[in-house]
Amino acid sequence: MRASNGRGAVIHRGSRLLAAGLLCWASAAPVLAQDAAGLLGRAAEAARTLDYVGTIVFQSGAAVETARIIHVNDNGEEFEKLVALDGPAREVIRQKGEVRCYYPDAKLVRIEPRTFRNAFPSLSPQQQEALARYYVLRKGAAGRVAGRDAQGWSFEPRDAYRYAQEFWTDTTSGMLLKARTLDERGEIVEQIAFLDLALGVKVDPALTRPTWASTPSDWMEKRGRTGTATPGDTGWSVTRLPPGFAKIMEGTRGTGRAPPVVQLVYSDGLVAVSVFIEPRGQARRGVGRARQGGINQFSVKLDEHVVTALGEAPAETVRQIALSVSRR
């Protein structure tokens, strides 16, 4: 089943169509690889180190949501609060090594321990080369986003294993103000943008505290089953990795209550695909594909395990990765 399903037959389609969809960028000359890494690094640095308050609109497929975001960097420590402005009330608090998601309608708090490798990894020369080899970066038009001067950029994939990305960065800080992911037909599958943004202001860290100082007594606290990651050799590998993807993490994660889940992460410098391998009895997930905007997932049974690949890549990319997972 695995082997016969694994051929990436449709992977060569689409680049031409995609190029047509990106015509507005076509006149711009490609930008050097170091500039690509610099651009991404600068955006990551700004998102991490600056204080800001803003409203974001997030479009994923046909769904559109808005949220308020407050970010504070207090002497190197990050505090962040995200509040959904439409739909059911939702709140995400990110601080002190964990992410808390509040669901007042369900009287639930999900707590995920996170180590926040939020610093954009400074790309190795090899990764920079991969970025340049599998994407063409073009400088687009200057424009405005959220009332701020912005510079447009496009990462056009050179093959169908990755999506095209369009970015608008803040001219003064380099922060990402708007991002779009386009599929193989040049259609927007996901879009996120600031509608308004107060940047470079001093923000009171108290504003990032959750609405609920402590979890109400009739709420449930739920800790994620995936826990924290412990890097190390897992004995698993991906045999038919799409070109340009290199392993950036291998390890196990768990809460100690259940058998650990293996996680492997592969990146092409711009996006990543994670592979999760867990015992079948433990996995209460269906097999097959799932999609949320620009994120695709593919799950498949492999002997006594369920293998799930997911990432900011086309369905065929995550499928090929999921279907070629094997024991070393």
Partner: protein
Amino acid sequence: MNEDVSRLMDGELDDDAAVDRALAALRRDQGADAWACYHVIGDAMRGNAPMSPGFSRRLSAALAAEPTVLAPVRRVAHPATFAWAAAATVAAVAVVGWTAVSLTDAPDVAIAKAREANAVRAAEVRTPAIPPDYLLAHQEYSPATAIQGVRPYARAVSFGVPAER
């Protein structure tokens, strides 16, 4: 018998004798079961959700209210002959979705299996939300997270299901 019914369903019977044979087969006791079975299998393979109870009755009522079409246009192109494929080979099983459907099964068993497969397939078609725990675990390492700051978390919270099953 099954072959005629299957071909009838796919609109592949051209001569009247064959149509009469198929209709006669449908009138016999197993015929209606086979008809229903092939449709469920066909739906499963096309990824259509199962029909709600009473659908046929409502459809009949709606059709009765429609003006009569005197010369129905024969379908020329078939995207695929699903029922025929199902009748011809159990290889269809792989397409239906990892659930064994065998035509040696009694029709009700086959229907149950096809329905089960349909549930898997329908879930796929509806593209369920990605589990937030995996999403967050992934985002911890993805460069896309670093570039966008916390915003990828918006995905996990606003589009995620509140509780895991």
